[in-house]
Structure formats: C-alpha cells, structure tokens
C-alpha cells in the first residue's frame, strides 16, 4: 500500500462494509455506517433560492429532508429524466438526515483495507477532496466517498 495522502486515511481504518451505487455509469460507495436507509424516488419539491446542488426536499415519514443532487455536486451533466432504478440514499451525517439521489443502488460490499488505495490525483479538473480512497477489485474501480465532505456546505461552496 502506498503512503496515505489524506489525514483521515492515515488516522482510521477504511476497511469495512460499503454501500455501492451507480452514478452516470461510474461506481461509487458510501460507508454503510453513514447510510440511514434507501428509499425509492419520490416527488421532490424544489426550494427556490437554495443552493444549486440542492434538488429540493421530500417527506421522509413526516420529516422534511433535503435531497442533494450528486451529479450537480460533482459537476456532471444532467441525465434525461430519472432512470427507473433511481433512488435516494438517506445518509445520517452527524445526526442530520440528507438524501442523495443516485442512478441505482448496487450492493453492500465488504471492502478490505488492502483493496483501498488513496485517491489519485486527476489534476485540477477533478475534485478529489471528498474521496476517502479508491477500491480496485475484480476489475472494477469504486470510488469511496466521504459523506461528511460530500455534504459539507463549505466544500460545496468551494467546489462550484
């Protein structure tokens, strides 16, 4: 394993269970411990004057939770309408529930520490600040996301 680049990588073990999902044909993953639940796509109420990455709000059994559009968060082109498998991964980050709209959820997967490599550098075009690392196994590359950073408003502000 190469030397870790990010501090978080250095201080905690990254091995464990991950929920993997597809976004624009690429495979990503969140640590299973940050995932609150997975719900089907529902009608999102857009919130005027809110941040562009906020797709709107939905009703999660009586709670109003915001939905973050991960494509917009990563500055990817918008799709032609939602695919039928589109769903919302509800993350619990420091007690806050936030939904993430993704193209499809794949599986819960055990990713061993040894499979994880630190985020590579893509140059200035690609923001790697919210990657915990990259796992490469069975010929598939999965990007492990740091839920905290994906949803932090400061990081969003600086990314766009």
């Amino acid at each position: 394993m190469t030397a870790p680049v990010a501090e978080s990588v250095a201080t905690r073990s990254l091995g464990g269970k991950y929920l993997t999902f597809v976004l624009a044909g690429e495979e990503y993953a969140f640590e299973i411990l940050t995932v609150h639940e997975i719900i089907g796509m529902m009608t999102v109420t857009p919130v005027p004057h809110s941040h562009p990455v906020i797709r709107g709000v939905v009703n999660l059994r009586g709670k109003v939770i915001p939905i973050v559009d991960l494509r917009r968060r990563f500055d990817m082109p918008a799709p032609e309408g939602d695919a039928p498998e589109t769903c919302i991964i509800v993350l619990n980050v420091k007690g806050l529930l936030v939904g993430i709209a993704v193209d499809a959820v794949s599986e819960v997967r055990m990713i061993a520490e040894g499979e994880i490599e630190p985020p590579p550098s893509f140059g200035s075009d690609v923001d790697v600040s919210c990657l915990l690392g990259v796992s490469n196994s069975e010929g598939k590359v999965r990007m492990l996301l740091d839920a905290d950073k994906v949803l932090s408003l400061e990081a969003i502000a600086s990314a766009l």
């Binding site: 529902m42 009608t43 109420t45 857009p46 919130v47 005027p48 004057h49 809110s50 941040h51 906020i54 709107g56 709000v57 939905v58 009703n59 009586g62 709670k63 109003v64 939770i65 915001p66 973050v68 806050l96 529930l97 936030v98 949803l151 408003l153």
Partner: protein, 704 residues
C-alpha cells in the same frame, strides 16, 4: 411532663398517619417541649423548630400535599437526630430559633447575636460522597423557589403589608435552607438560614419591610442564586469562591436594623393582571387554537394542582407526533374512498376518529402552553434596578402575564423584552426633574400588556417618556452609514432604523442583562418565530413597542396556493383578502413597479413566480388571484395562479443542509404526502420594497 428525648418525638411522628390530626397535634406538643429544653443543642432545637414551622404551615398540609408535608417534617427530624448523634455541640450558644419564638414571646432583642451555621471557608465545596442526583434536583428546585421569592419581594415593595408575599419569601428561604442543609450544602444552608430568620421577623410583624430590609432580602436572593449556580462547578470539585459580600450580607441579615439605610428608591409595582380575559378579544378564534388546557392559577404562591415534571424533549416529541397524526387524518379525510358517500359506514367511522384526533390536537397544543409570566417576572427586577441606578422614578405595570404561549416562544421572548424594557427605562423615561418641567408626574410609567388576538399573542410595552426622537435616530443612522439622509422617510421608516444591523450594538455589557444583543438580532429572532415588531411614538408622550407572535409554532393554518406546477403554503392569518383583478385596476408607476387598485387603495403587486423563480406561472394577472398580505402601508398584493384550499400544517425546518432561504419559513407535509414550502410573507414584502426602490423604470414591463 417527664423529660422528653428526641426519640419520643420520633415515636410521635411515626404515629402520624395522613389525615390524623390528633397524632399531629401530639407530635407538635412533644416538639415544643423539646424546643423549650435549653439543655439540648441549639442546632437540634433549630431543626425541631423547623419541623414545627412545617406542621404549623397550613399550606404544607392541604389535601394531597399532606404526605409531602410529613416528608418535610421527617427531614427536619432527621437533621435533629443527626445533630444529636454527632454530638455536634460546637455551637452551644443558644440560638433564638426562628419558629421557636412564639413559645417565648419575650420582646425579641433587636440585635441578638445569631451564631448561625458555620461558614468554614470562603469557598463553596460539596463533599465527595454527596448524592449528586439529589443535589442536582435541588439546584433546579431552588431556582424555582428563588424566582418565587424574587417575585414576592418585588410585590412587597409596593404592598409591604402583603402577608401572603412575606410567606412566599419565607417559605422559599425556608425550603432552600432545609433541603440544602439535608444535602450538606453548608454554605447555602447557613446563608438561607439568616435570610429566613430576617423574613420570619418580618412575618412576625417584628420588623417592618422597609428601610434596608427589602434590599437585603433581594441581595440575599442574589447570593443564594449565585451559590445555586455554582453547584455544578462545586460538584465537579472546583470549589468556587463564595460571593464577595457573603459574610458581610449574612451579618447584615442578622441585624437589618443596623444596616445602613439606603436612599429611598422609586416604588416598583406589578399591577394586578388587569382584565382577566384580555384573551377574550378573539372570541371567534378557531376551535383548534382555543382552550389552553392548564389555566394558570391566579394565586402567585403555590399551585394546588398536583404537578408532574416531564422531560421537554418527550413533550415535544409527543406534540410532534400528534401533529403527524392530524395530518395523516387530514389525508385520510381527503381520500376519495372516504369522501365518496358510497361507503356510508366507513365515512362515519372516519369522522368519529377525526373528532378524537382534533380533541387530541387541542390537548397536545395546550401541553406546550405556558403563561408569559416566566419572561415577565424578571423584567420587574430589571426595571427596578435600572431605575435605581439612573435615579429615575418608574412604575412598572404589568397586565396579562397569564396569557399563554408556546413554551419555546417564552424563552425566545426573554431577550427582545429585555431590550425593549431597557430601552424604555434608559432612553424613554426622563429624569424626574425633566418630567416635572414639562408638566408630567415625576413618576414615569412603563406598562407591559400582553393579550391574545386571534391565533397571535401581542405584547405591548408602553412608556410615557419623551418618545423616540426622529432627529437623533436619523443622525445616528447617518453617522453609522446606514442611510445617507433621512429626507423623504416616514416616521415609521425612521423608527424602523432602530432594528437595522449596526444601529444598536452589543458593545455595552450591562450588569442587568449580562450581555447585550443588538436590536437587529432581536428582530431577526422574532422573525424566525413568525413574529413582528412595530414601533409607534409621539414626541413628548412616549413610545409603544409591539411584538406580535403566533400562539404556537407547532401548527399553522395555511392557504395552499399554486404557482406554475408548484404549491406553496401561505399562513392564513397573514392573508387579508384575495381577489381577481380587473384589467383596468392594473398599472405601473414609474420606478415603483406594478401596482393594483383595489377597494380605493393602490398596492404594489408582487409576482410570486418571479420572486421565487418558478417556471410556468400565470403571467396574466387578470387570470390569477391576488392575495393582500402585510399590514399598514407595507401591504403588498401577491399574484398566484390559483387558491387550492386550506389545511392545517405542521411547520418543519428545511434542515441545516439547506439553511435559511429568504422568503421561506420552512416546509410542511401536504395532503398528498408531498412537501409544500411555507412562505414568509413579511420577508417577501420587505424584499419587494427593496426591489422596487432599486428598480429602474425601464425594467418594468406592462403586463396584464
């Protein structure tokens, strides 16, 4: 009678069953005999006298409270037994015990040396093996008692003969002393003991509540308050220092006559709650908002209804869940299957459930309602202290403090009220000489009035001082760079500058509030609670600050409106009327945007779809609906596509990830399960006003 021992008293106590007055009399007799026995240690006798005081206090033995009264007696007896067993004879100096006096009605010498409980050190320590949970409970309880004592003391200042108030104060000190000494908090017990002693002399008409006495009593409350606040630190082993004036004040409490006479100070009085049903102003209040269940007891002393303490988060959760139930029920009622008359029986059952849910809703809302009193009581003290310091004479009259509002609002109201009161005393009321010069009575009046109007609570603070000085406000605003000049601004707009960010600052940390919050923060906090602030003022006659708040934040009556494909919720209370405009009523005024004429008024028009950037909204105003919102000259007609109907909604925050969005107060679940956004009408009005000021004439297309 043969020589009694403390064991005999215990035996008599054990025989005391609730309701058995005979046994209680017997216990009392034995206690008296013991107290009179000079051979016993002074502290033992004090403890026994305390037990008698409890027995003699009818309030302790009223109905359901009897068991509690006996429990208090038991605690005092325990203390006595402890002292006997410890052979704690260090202080053998006979102490004239508070409650023992009636037995020896000798002319009490004015300056009896009161040894008091020992104050060993200048720090406040709690023994390591103390019962933390009990001490924490005591701290909470003591705070309540101190509040009661403070309120009663302030009442006494205007009515020194109010025996009930003296009793309230005495009871507070007494209970604090008893419990703290039981818990081994010697610093508090010793001090409270002296305070109690002094109050007992007032109670026995032996000492007048005049001269230095009121001040000493209030300062005693402050010292105990400081000590109670220090409990957590002391529990943590920090040994906080005793207040600087601890020893001196303790001494002064024993010899109140000797204490230097402080200059007489203006009388502060809390007027009787005026019209008991100021709330009656809104007889047509919708049933859902009526009936706050737990009506505040009129008596300011002890509540006679048994109370239970409930964790607030549990309570909030309950109210929230009932809110959900109400909405689930609304969705059910709107279901085609139910509304359709085909299934008669089903409809009947659902209607029955609906009735129950509504009742439950009323009840649950009532649970969160508390009287405003909590926020107001402290102000009486603030006025008193501020007036004393600035040499002004002020009467503080309060009415409607029993008006009930949502608990969360009471806490949030504290800061704004403090600001307003400070403003009125510092800047409003003139010094006596100046008042006399302009023909006003030397005594200024600050009147606080609270009442319910519809589903809102109104708190008004009026002072009969000099009024707001327009020129000075303008000068200050110009100096601070908030405005360039005051020309062309209406009085209301000028007064509003007080709330502008940067106008009033938090520079001065006063000893009254401890910290300053800018007026802009006050207004923002109020706006966050859907509250409004209005200022009215007449030069030389005084000013009136009005705060208006919703009764509760939990449930709002909302009008659902459609704009394009989106639906929004407008609080019904904020809508004055709705109409569809005639083509001829629409016009544009150069530089001021679109206007609409209705009922002899000309109102600015706000297109909601533009303000919120919603696509597909109705462009032709004559095809849409205009809602008139706001008040006074701040009214605006808001254009929406359609009114979809009314629904009660539970307002929910949009979450930290979204943060505060201008023009929205939150979201709510609509009848079909989707989220609807609740509009902040006042903010929209403000935004519209700002926009119309900046807008150039060219940017206003004529549409209709």
């Amino acid at each position: 009678m043969a020589t009694l021992t403390i064991d005999d008293a215990i035996a008599a106590f054990v025989a005391c069953e609730p309701g058995d007055e005979g046994a209680r009399r017997k216990l009392r007799e034995r206690l008296w005999a013991l107290v009179a026995d000079k051979r016993l240690d002074a502290q033992v006798r004090t403890a026994l006298a305390d037990a008698i005081a409890v027995l003699d206090d009818p309030a302790e033995f009223r109905g359901a409270k009897e068991a509690e009264g006996l429990e208090t007696v038991r605690r005092h007896l325990e203390i006595a037994v402890d002292r006997v067993e410890c052979g704690d004879l260090a202080l053998s100096e006979p102490e004239p015990s508070a409650a023992a006096r009636p037995v020896t009605p000798a002319p009490a010498p004015a300056a009896v040396a009161v040894a008091g409980l020992p104050v060993a050190s200048v720090t406040f320590t709690i023994e390591a093996d103390a019962d933390r949970a009990l001490i924490e409970d005591f701290a909470a309880e003591a705070r309540e008692y101190l509040e009661i004592a403070e309120a009663a003391l302030l009442r006494l200042e205007s009515a020194p003969d109010d025996a009930e108030a003296v009793n309230d104060v005495f009871r507070a000190f007494h209970t604090i002393k008893g419990t703290s000494s039981f818990l081994g908090l010697a610093a508090i017990a010793g001090f409270a003991h002296h305070a109690e002693d002094m109050l007992d002399r007032v109670r026995g008409a032996e000492l007048a509540f005049a001269g230095a006495v009121p001040d000493l009593a209030l300062r005693a409350v402050d010292v105990i308050k400081t000590l109670v606040h220090a409990i957590p630190a002391a529990l943590a082993g920090d040994a906080p220092e005793l207040p600087a004036d601890y020893a001196e004040l303790q001494d002064a409490l024993s010899h109140p006559e000797a204490a230097a006479d402080v200059p007489s100070r203006p009388v502060v009085e809390a007027a009787e709650p005026a019209s008991a049903d100021a709330a009656g102003e809104a007889p047509a209040a919708p049933a859902a908002k009526a009936a706050p269940v737990a009506k505040a007891a009129g008596a300011p002393s002890v509540a006679t209804d048994p109370l239970v303490k409930v964790r607030t988060d549990k309570l909030d959760r309950l109210v929230e869940m009932v809110g959900e139930l109400v909405i689930a029920q609304a969705i059910l009622m709107q279901d085609a299957e139910v509304r359709d008359a085909a299934n008669h029986h089903l409809a009947q059952k659902v209607r029955h459930a609906d009735k129950i849910v509504r009742e439950l809703q009323d009840l649950s809302l009532g649970l969160r309602m508390v009287p405003l009193k909590g926020a107001i009581t402290k102000l009486t003290r603030v006025v008193r202290d501020l007036a004393t310091r600035s040499g002004k004479q002020i009467t503080f009259a309060v009415s409607g403090e029993e008006t009930e509002v949502d608990r969360t609002l009471v806490d949030l109201l504290a800061d704004p009220l403090l600001h307003m009161v400070r403003n009125a005393v510092d800047h409003g009321i003139e010094p006596p000489s100046e008042r006399l010069k302009v023909g006003k009575p030397a005594m200024g009046t600050v009147r606080l009035e609270a009442y319910q109007a519809g589903d809102r609570v109104v708190v008004k603070l009026h002072d009969d001082g000099r009024g707001l000085q327009r020129d000075r406000i303008v000068a200050k605003a110009v100096e601070k760079g908030i405005i360039a000049s005051g020309d062309g601004m209406s009085d209301a707009e000028v007064f509003d500058l007080i709330f502008a960010p940067g106008f009033s600052t938090a520079e001065q940390v006063t000893e009254v509030s401890g910290r300053g919050v800018g007026m802009d923060v006050v207004r923002r906090n109020l706006a966050a609670m859907r509250g409004r602030t209005v200022i009215a003022s007449t030069p030389g006659r005084g000013s009136t600050f009005t705060i208006e708040l919703p009764l509760t934040l939990a449930i709002t009556d909302g009008m659902i409106v459609r704009v394009g494909a989106e639906r929004f919720i407008v609080p019904t209370a904020r809508i004055q009327r709705c109409f569809r405009p005639e083509a001829g009523a629409l016009s544009t005024v150069q530089g001021k945007g679109e206007m609409v004429q209705h009922g002899g008024e000309v109102l600015p028009m706000l297109r909601l779809h533009r303000a919120l950037r919603v696509l597909g909204g109705q462009e032709r105003a004559t095809e849409g609906i205009l809602m008139v919102v706001g008040d006074g000259h701040d009214r605006v007609a808001i254009l929406v596509d359609e009114l979809l109907g009314q629904q009660q909604v539970v307002a929910k925050p949009l979450g930290d990830a979204i943060g505060r969005v201008r023009g929205l107060t939150g979201g709510a679940i609509l009848g079909d399960g989707r989220v609807g956004l609740i509009l902040d009408v006042d903010e929209l009005v403000v935004a519209e006003r700002e926009r119309s000021r900046e807008q150039s004439p060219a940017a206003v297309p004529q549409a209709a």
